[in-house]
Symmetry: C2
Subunit: 336 residues, 2 copies
């Protein structure tokens, strides 16, 4: 494997900095999903912790380092989950945490960032606008800025998920991982490719926010002017070159999925697994729904990376409407 | 503490027989629930495993013993979750599993029992009718019958949850545990009272299925003719005297809650924790909602014991209806 920014020994050591509540998360085969998907499916649950996403694995490493070096303040831009994670990790270490987010981020994410004691600054614009503002704050105040996928600790944190995936009871044929900034995908991909290179690592991104996937296929940074997806957690326009490089090394493929498949995936997880997830966490199931032949008969693991979703929106997507009553591109597996 | 059927050394040893996927389940403080409850709340999640309930902790012990002693078949009556658990544990050990259940048990529970390869026999009547039929099958075929709370392994399995509760990062003031046959409550209660006797153990049962709670308060077996509750997992009429005795030793209190509080609890867990649970798993939250003063300012842990729920029924209880729009006995905490 070519070199990346990641290092397995450093990641192993970094696990020690992460509060145990975020580690060794449930990983189990969910047979109830399988008739609808045509393959064996295992779920890695990153939703059942105090912040309902995997992001604290990275912020625990960062906040631990900051506290150890005597720093008192930190700022990040966030689509909503990184901000909660940094707020949680910073609070327990006495750090002054500022989070910059888009005014259009899900209300539940913004509420939780505030409830965890962080200063929340809202910007008109999207995640990349928030990134620019967070950079300005960091410069102005002379404090550390945390940027998803740019700060390698965010990738290291995600890599601990990959380590757990390959040390479980099952041997997987493929791992499906949500792709946004690339921190989750490059971290998980690096650990998997280092420890179990025979497992295929497939990144999944919404067709409405395809910048990183397009960049991966063309092997150069491609930006987009806008995004259009309900998967707010992965809706970036401007890929980071370092994250792209790492991803080129560790990922076997990157695919795009339709919004209707994301919704179908969320509904399947609710109806057949009893799990509420945010749209980004349904990308893996969406990818199976869109390409059953590719996965037929194989054992696939997917990471349910978060469950911070506004319930009104959630109900409108997957709520009481019977399965099959919403138009989807894919044939509904439970309607025969 | 007076003697019970349980033994901490035996329980510690029994943990070895339980597949790791059912052990060391998530336990975390859920701050998003707290403004609505007026106390600190930690959740112990028994829903994120292949059978979506805690019951395999007990059936793993039993199936392991059966396999070791060369037995090939086993039967149980089930409200739906024990049957799934025994089917799962039996399948991986080559046992022929028969489950007897009420025809009126939730369809999802019956489907999963079949999908896991067990022979399912349905009876007209309720859980106690199914128990009588299972006893007849066991006599006729000369095979082992597993009975919840009567077979002490079902209590031992539950006790491993109690061990995990008291070995976590938090010190709780009280543990709220669903009460049905008494296996969960006596097991958890025994472990908690043995290892951390200062923690209050409070059993919670629906007012519509009060047999064990009434028995506990009167210190003698009291049966009821019928049950009337959506909490199908705890709807027994005929308490087992041994389980009652153990419960008298290890429980500090047993309370009854209204159906509307169970629904309010399920809705709070969905809206503020992103968790789908079956009604029995919301009993602890329901108890807090009905007696806020008792728990005010304390740190309470509750066990979310299962999530096997028919989604149509679930949606009708907690689905897309906005919080506050369904009549509940308790004041909705989020409406001020």
């Amino acid at each position: 494997m070519q070199e990346t920014r990641l290092d397995i020994a450093r990641i192993r050591a970094a696990r020690q900095a992460i509060a145990p509540i975020f580690l060794d998360t449930p990983l189990y085969r969910c047979e109830a999903l399988e008739p609808g998907l045509g393959c064996a499916v295992s779920l890695k649950l990153e939703t059942v912790n105090p912040i309902r996403s995997f992001k604290a694995r990275g912020t625990e490493i960062i906040a631990s380092d900051l506290a150890a070096s005597g720093q008192r303040a930190v700022v990040c831009a966030s689509a909503g989950n990184l901000g909660q994670a940094l707020a949680w990790s910073g609070r327990s270490r006495g750090l002054d945490v500022t989070v910059v987010a888009s005014r259009s981020a899900p209300a539940v994410k913004l509420e939780r960032i505030r409830a965890l004691g962080a200063s929340l600054e809202l910007v008109d614009g999207d995640y990349d606008t928030a990134c620019a503002r967070a950079a300005a704050i960091a410069r102005h105040r002379g404090i550390r800025r945390v940027e998803d996928s740019v700060d390698v600790e965010t990738c290291d944190g995600a890599a601990t998920i990959g380590m757990e995936l390959v040390s479980g009871a099952h041997r997987f044929d493929a791992v499906l991982v949500a792709l946004g900034t690339g921190a989750l995908a490059s971290g998980v991909g690096y650990a998997v490719k280092t420890l179990a290179p025979e497992i295929e690592v497939i990144c999944v991104q919404p067709a409405g926010a395809p910048a990183m996937t397009r960049s991966w296929h063309e092997r150069r940074v491609i930006t987009t002017d806008t995004t259009d997806t309900i998967a707010d957690g992965v809706a970036g326009r401007i890929p980071n070159p370092d994250a792209l490089w790492d991803l080129l090394v560790v990922a076997d493929d990157a695919v795009l999925v339709q919004e209707s498949s994301i919704i179908a995936g969320m509904r399947m997880l609710l109806d057949h697994a009893g799990l509420v997830v945010e749209p980004s966490a349904a990308l893996g199931i969406a990818a199976i729904l869109e390409d059953r032949e590719r996965f037929a008969g194989r054992h696939v693991a997917t990471i349910l990376c978060g469950s911070n979703v506004d319930m009104d929106a959630y109900h409108s997507w997957v709520g009481a409407t019977p399965v099959g009553a919403v138009a989807v591109d894919v044939r509904d597996p439970y309607q025969g």
